[in-house]
Structure formats: C-alpha cells, structure tokens
Amino acid sequence: MVSLPQIFPTPVAVVIALKDLLIAPGPQGVAWAGELLGNTLISLWRVFVGFSIAAVSGVFLGIIIGWWPRARDLLEPVIEILRPIPPLAWIPLAMLWLGLGFKPAVFLIWLGAFFPILLNTVLGIEGTPKNLIEVAKTLGANSWQILFKVGVPSATPSIMAGLRIGIGIGWMCLVAAELTGSNSGLGYMIMYYYSTMEAAKTVAGMLMIGIVGYLAFIGLKKLEDRMLFWRVSA
C-alpha cells in the first residue's frame, strides 16, 4: 500500500501540490488569493466570527456564574447537560436549522470554543484570592469595583488559557463542519481532493490546517504574554 501514490503521496508530490494550490484560482469572492490561501481565508473568517462570539459569551457568562452563586445554581445543570455532547454530534441539526455554508460552520465553532472558555473563566473568577477581596473591601471598594478591579484581572491567566484551548477546539470543529456542510474552506478543499483521488492535494490542505492552527496558538500566546506582563514566569 505504501507504493500507492493515490493513497500515500510522496513529500515531493505534496510540495508540488502546494505550489499548484497556491496558483490555482481561489473560491468565489477570493479568487485573487489562489485556491489554498483563498480557502484558508474563508476558514479563518468563519473561525474569527465563531470564536469572537464564543469569547464574548463564554467570558460574560463565566463571570456571572463564577461570581454569583445563585446564577451558578441556576445555570450549572443546563451547562453540564450540554457540555458532554460532542460539537460534531450537532452537525446534522446545525445543517437542518441553519442551512449550509457559513452559519452552521460558525455555530459549530462557537459550540466547540464556548465551553472551555466558559469553564476556565468560572474557575478563574472562583479562584480570586479571598485576601485580595478583603483588602479591596477594607479600602472601600463596592461589589462592581471588586469584580472588575480584583476578580477579572485575577482570572485573566485562566481566561487566556481557556481562549487558547477554545481556539484549538473551534478550529477542529470548523474543519469537520466544512467536510460535510460547506462548499468552500480548507475542510471542503480536503474533501474535494479526496473525492478526485488527488491525495497530495489532500495532504497539502491538512498541512495548511496544522500551520494555521499553530500560528493561531502562537498569536494568542503572545497576546497573553503582553496582557499578563506582570506575571512572574516560573
């Protein structure tokens, strides 16, 4: 089987495929970018939208649940029921409710990224050192000031960790969503070339997914280092 180039392309074939995909015309709307970068841009846009919604909703809800015990009692059961359902299990329903293409992909990215961000935010808020809260109270801070000047900054390392995990899961969900519910994007491109038995182009697409995922991780890490400049590294 190793001698079957239709299944196991050689590294040289993959490099040639990368070159071909860079110069072939891209999908509608990004034809100028070439097929590989054009589909990458489409996927990135979907991730940006889905992840942004997940970040805002996850952090917001996480602060509420982490800070107010009553909110936790109310929302925790719902979250714990929904959380174990794999995002990919939602694909058929996402396509049924939201159609094909952009919307179900964004929904699945949101779903994949939301829970790690939410849980890490909750943990971060709940882990706010009690002595810092007491000091703030002593200095005359009200509840809102304690939350935003003590609680949230204290939770930031945990929130950033959640964001990094969230983007990784969101990216994986995107690719799965594009394999079945789309006609553009890196996931679709991989499926397309699998169907036309061009394994080298399939592998080239997978390589691009890995590169983009890594760059996203590095980007978030740098952002975290800048925001948490006060953190003393081990």
Binding site: L4, Q6, I7, L100, G181, M191, Y194, M197
Partner: protein, 328 residues
C-alpha cells in the same frame, strides 16, 4: 494358506482403500471462493446486486460474496478498491474512469445500467438558467452525477461558478429532505432519490439524465486487475450472476421492485416512480466510454466544472479505454 493367497488379497484391499479415498476426495464440495463486492448507498442502479443477493445467485455459482459498503459515492468506493479492501464493485462509470486515470489497476468488465439519474428541483424552478446563484447538491466530485450536472450547465452556457454547487456535502438519502426544508434548491443524484421528491410532493424532476444523453452508460461492474488475474473463473461467475440478475429484473419487474424496496427501505410508490427512469443492461459500448472520457476532459477545459481528468492524465483516450474496458 500360502503367501500366494495373501498377496492378491492385500493388493485388492489396497486398491479398494485408494479408490475409496479418491472417491471421498471427489465427493468433497469445493470451498466457495470469497469475493468482496462494493456498492453505493441506496442506489437503485445496483439492483442487479440486490437481486442476486436476495435470490441466492452467488451461492448457485459457488461464490461466497462479502458485501462491503455501502459507500456514499463512487470515489470513496474506488479508494477502497485501490486499497485492496474490495475485489469488485458496482460503481458509476465516472469514478471508475477517474480511478483508472489515476493509474489504479482496474478493469471495467460489464455494464449494470443506463440512464437513471436526474435533477430534482423546487417547483418554482422552471429551467436550468433559473438555478443561477441557487444551491444545488450532487454526490462527490468525480461521480457521474457531478459530471452530468457539468454537462447540463455547459449546454445552458453556464458553469459551476454560476450556481452554488455543493458536491459531496449532503448524502444522497438526505437530499430529498434538504430540498423539502429549503436548504437546497435542487440536487442531481441517482434514483430512487430523484423520485422521492416527486412522490413526496416536495419537488419536481427538471431534467432526467437521459435528456442530457439518451442511453448514456451509468453504473458498471469493475474488478481489480490483480484479483481478476488470479481468479478468472470467479470473475466470470460474478458476470454470469450479474447477467442472470438483469434478466430477472426484465422478466419479473414486480418481483424486482419488491427487492428494491427491501434494500433501499423506500416505499412502493417511490420505487415505481424511480423504475421509469432506470434501464438495466450488461452491455457497455467502448465508444460510449470514449465519448464520456472526452466529455469529462472538455468540461474541465471549458470551466464548466473544476477539472477532474485532464488530457495530461489521459493523453490517448482510445488506448486508455481499450485497456480499461474489457467487456466480454
């Protein structure tokens, strides 16, 4: 008793023993040969296979058949054949040609059906040009329906860029539901899934594949060349089974429809409607296959579809088809 008595007795006994052993061996039935056969999900074009399984035609030929699949589309089945997970298969002509163009060692050894696909659309669509910017689903790129959609677009001076094409995104059994819920505006697929939308009232048949090319070859029987070389008799037996099943469908359409219902799990009305569009035949004309290869290459060159096979893949169409198509 003298030794002269025992020698003939012993000799006779030995001869009787040898004869009984030989007789015993010749009475032992030969072990059935196992052949792994692939097919496509709910594809009415593969009814000869379903009939053969239901009626025991394989057992009559002494073949132990192992069914592999079903596959969502032809290209996936050809991947399995390439990886030696299949020995033979019922598959669309286009994916078989695609695999052969990618240097997969296979042969097309029989026809299975002609025609039998169609474009089902929302009732508001009155012509192919009405599909401008609309969502249309087909099986995976490289499937015969994907190619025929390209032929249809080309004949209407359109290309895949004029519509929102979703190849391989929705499984064929899910296409009627996607049309009904408005997720797509049309789909080009194999029967009985075209008929499904007609019977449910969700859509209509805008174009039948026979309107694009009357009598076009559709599904064929393929085999891996290394399997065929080592198992000539088995392959010949499978071809006899295929012919017998096709003759059964022609002679017993009512019985064949019941088997079709069993294998596709669809209702009688849908199967009745679908049967109107499928022709079963084991003949396959090399000239038709050559025409098909030329069409696929031309569609890619004109931009009607994204190129699947180019003239670089198949520089000499006649030699390619003569090598790959071995219908006896």
């Amino acid at each position: 008793m003298s030794s002269g008595f025992f020698k003939p007795v012993l000799l006779t006994a030995l001869m009787l023993l040898l004869a009984s052993m030989a007789g015993g061996l010749s009475c032992t039935p030969p072990s059935p040969v196992t052949v792994r056969v692939g097919y496509l999900l709910g594809d009415l074009h593969h009814l000869p296979l379903f009939v053969a399984l239901d009626k025991g035609f394989f057992e009559d030929e002494g073949i132990d058949v192992q069914i592999v699949g079903p596959f969502d589309a032809g290209p996936a089945e050809m991947d399995a054949l390439t990886a030696s997970q299949l020995d033979m298969g019922y598959v669309g002509l286009a994916p078989a040609i695609l695999a052969a163009a990618r240097k997969v060692e296979l042969s097309i050894i029989s026809g299975a059906n002609q025609e039998g696909s169609g474009l089902a659309t929302q009732k508001s669509i009155n012509g192919v040009t009405d599909l401008q910017s609309k969502k249309v689903a087909t099986p995976a790129p490289g499937s015969i329906q994907y190619v025929m959609m390209g032929m249809l677009l080309s004949s209407n001076k359109m290309s895949y860029k004029d519509i929102e094409l979703f190849p391989g995104t929705i499984k064929p059994p899910d296409m009627p539901g996607a049309l009904q819920t408005g997720r797509i505006d049309g789909y080009f697929v194999w029967e009985p899934y075209v008929a499904r939308s007609v019977v449910s009232g969700a859509g209509k048949v805008l174009v039948e594949s026979k309107d694009i090319w009357p009598g076009h070859p559709c599904c064929v029987v393929v085999t891996r060349n290394d399997f065929a070389t080592k198992n000539e008799n088995t392959v010949a037996a499978v071809l006899r089974v295929n012919r017998r099943a096709i003759n059964f469908i022609a002679d017993n359409p009512a019985g064949a429809k019941i088997i079709a219902q069993k294998f596709t799990k669809l209702d009688a009305a849908t199967i009745d409607e679908a049967f109107k569009r499928v022709k079963y035949t084991f003949t396959l004309n090399r000239d038709d296959v050559k025409r098909f290869v030329k069409e696929i290459i031309a569609l890619g060159e004109t931009g009607a579809i994204k190129p699947i096979i180019t003239s670089a893949d198949v520089p000499d169409i006649d030699a390619f088809v003569n090598r790959v198509v071995n219908v006896k």
